[in-house]
Symmetry: C2
């Protein structure tokens, strides 16, 4: 029947078809409920127009159209997109923050995977109930006590899907809209974006050789939360001194601030003794420690963890289940066995040697080109270093020219919130670059610097 046609009355149709009027009424009600007909009171029932009229989405990507789409975002949505830091490429010389995933022990991993999946354990295939698979939490507690001098029990470990989620959960449980958060200046773009999208106000705190260095005007105004990277400042690479660690802990205690210790790549240190984590020094339960397997295994794994003060452990376990609905306990089980059988420790040991070698090769290449003319920052730990370019202002342009030559580097200046405090330089990751590629790739980068 065409749209707009009037249906016969239920009585007439029932008589015509020889069925009970109630049956017809029931059918009409169903059609009405599903919108295939509409009723006009006192007039009758009409066939509705249900043919979809689709306006095809054109491929117009001109400036005006894009502008309009952008404006359909919220203010915080626009800010997120405008401040976007994720690069289009995630692999190659000298992508910072990416480990050599080709060295991952795939065979061992797959053997454990198949073992876990053969066990057919339905309770691992449904939602998790707060904090993740317990044997993984236990394995992580053991690992963090030994490797990071952490002070923790199994319950304090919350398994997340990475540092973004760990920080986001902390912000949502501990901070309200309008609260201030100290972040390092410069800092990881992801943290600033998370704060802004949760309605917090990031306050940039300058970093010196000892780490985050709040001025008296900052100290006079305690924030709700302090986010820092004490083991290997991101991006500059300095290590927070013990004195500064104690100062921060004491300040947080006095003013009731929370501290998030982001320990994103502390496993790789070259020739320096690791300091105790802030978490290990914390005696008042002020520190949330966050870490990740992205640098020690591979980023796409998306498993991170946090260590929360014992008294807050249950609340965080509930909070993560509530806000994100956890699962992936099969993956947690594989990872737990990977750790328990010693593969994590031996992989880290092997990769430390490999990265140390690549770091040397990169530093040699830099010295060959520039001698001591360009300062190298933050090469004592992690998977990247910073080559400062004090004679340049526009490190952006260098990176753009390098990209044309197929070389990735990130401009240091873009990690600063306050442009006039920013320094020019290049973040260079050597983790995912094969040894033989390092010198030639740096040669191309030097061309981009020189032009």
């Amino acid at each position: 029947m065409p749209a707009g046609a009037k249906l016969p009355s239920s009585r007439a149709l029932g008589q015509a078809l020889g069925i009970a009027r109630n049956t017809v009424l029931h059918v009409y009600e169903q059609l009405l409920a599903e919108g295939y007909v509409h009723a006009q009171s006192g007039s009758g029932t009409y066939v509705a127009d249900t043919s979809p009229e689709r306006v095809l989405d054109g491929d117009v990507r001109g400036g005006r159209r894009v502008q309009r789409d952008h404006q359909r975002l919220s203010k915080r949505g626009r800010r997120t997109i405008e401040m976007a830091g994720v690069g289009r490429h995630q692999w190659g010389a000298f992508m910072p923050g990416v480990p050599d995933v080709t060295e991952f022990p795939l065979k061992a991993w797959n053997r454990l995977h198949n073992r876990v999946w053969r066990q057919h354990r339905p309770e691992l295939m449904t939602y998790a109930q707060g904090g993740g698979y317990r044997p993984l939490r236990r394995a992580l507690a053991d690992y963090l006590r030994v490797s990071r001098a952490a002070n923790c029990q199994t319950e304090q470990v919350i398994v997340t899907n990475g540092i973004h989620q760990s920080v986001d959960l902390s912000i949502r449980l501990l901070c309200d809209v309008g609260d201030e958060a100290w972040v390092e200046e410069p800092c990881y773009w992801g943290v600033r974006n998370l704060l802004l999208s949760s309605g917090l106000k990031p306050v940039p705190i300058p970093v010196d050789a000892e780490g985050m260095n709040p001025a008296p005007r900052h100290l006079a105004r305690p924030p709700r939360i302090i986010i820092c990277t004490p083991s290997h400042q991101y991006p500059l690479g300095c290590v927070m001194s013990l004195a500064r660690r104690r100062m921060l802990l004491e300040y947080a205690r006095q003013h009731g601030c929370w501290i998030i210790e982001d320990d994103y790549d502390s496993e790789f240190r070259f020739g320096i003794r690791p300091l105790a984590s802030l978490q290990g020094l914390d005696t008042y339960g002020q520190v949330i420690y966050v870490g990740s397997f992205s640098k020690v295994l591979f980023p796409g794994l998306r498993v991170g963890y946090m260590l929360v003060p014992g008294a807050m452990a249950d609340l965080f376990a509930q909070g993560i289940a509530e806000l994100y609905r956890e699962g992936q306990m099969m993956l947690h089980a594989v990872l737990a066995e990977f750790i328990d059988e010693g593969y994590l420790a031996s992989h880290i040991r092997r990769m430390r040697g490999l990265y140390a070698q690549r770091r040397e090769l990169l530093i040699e290449a830099i010295h060959r080109h520039y001698g001591d003319a360009l300062p190298i920052l933050g090469d004592e730990a992690g998977l990247h270093l910073v080559l400062e370019l004090p004679h340049l202002r526009d490190d952006w342009a260098v990176c753009a020219r390098a990209a044309d030559l197929g070389i990735l580097a990130k401009p240091l200046s873009t990690y600063y919130a306050v442009a006039r405090q920013s320094r020019a330089g290049l973040l260079m990751g050597y983790g995912c670059v094969p040894d033989a590629r390092i010198a030639p790739a740096f040669g191309l980068l030097a061309r981009a610097i020189g032009e």
Copy 2:
């Protein structure tokens, strides 16, 4: 050296050890930077006290202690914990929202898994670049066009880790703090919590047999976003009529509102014809469609997807990379092959038959105990139905008694934001209950209802 001991001057130590004073100074600076010594100006350098003094976290879990810990959360954090909806048990009769994970084709999955992992593709092991692995996005676009009458291209599909993340991303990109959001009354607890934790104001809109039914006072005040479950209202189970769908779309167009169509379990329908999705009817790009594999495969998989208007696709892809740092493309690749090789379609077909059978068994059991005395709501689709208890007020107490007998059910009243509008009833999932267990388990539940 003991804490507090004074170090010799750099000049004296250099002379004593026969090394350059500069070398000593360099060492002292390093010790100072790392906090092992502290300098007092005009007096000298002293050994710092670096021994950790730990106050052990007691196991005091008395009321006062818990209360205090609670108060260390933010206001939104406390609200999240207070409104927690995640149950302690996620498996068994009659846990709603959980499919039968024991029926998942593990062998086929593992074969595909091993095939993907043997390929050693490093680009799948690093961070994703916005939206997820493209072949999975393509497979999902094909699937949604056929099964949900969706109107979409590959680019419009964004792979997420579930409906929580899809809704959270939409809120963060499209809404600001203080914006209003229409939610169904009653609605899924998770959505209300996500809104509150992002600073939005949920406005409960009553649901009738045709779905969300805004009153004139609601219509007079357009929200920023409308969140609804048109295919199978959660929790009541009604299907939104076509007329109501069109009304919502037209209203959203006129007032510039966004609509989130949560299609959490539309794959399982029993004897009724599926209606076109809101997304398929949307001609102005107002609808964000969100779906998940939690009900069709297994919840712990944590893969969901969203379909965004074509003009917004790039912005959403950027936004998700920015706020959550995506990865898990190896998992995406396995899932893409699972879909392309027809396993998804055949699994859904098989499970539809199995769930239809369980639904019948449950309805039979209800009728055997109660005849038509207790209304059954929302049994036409999905994995749960609602048994209304119009003679009772306290469905909580029934669930507590049932839990003592080992039977899970969720009280309907707790899904309402406004207590005086709430109805008493039980959400009962039959998806994860073996056929033979249904009647005996309902017998126990009936005891809990009767007491």
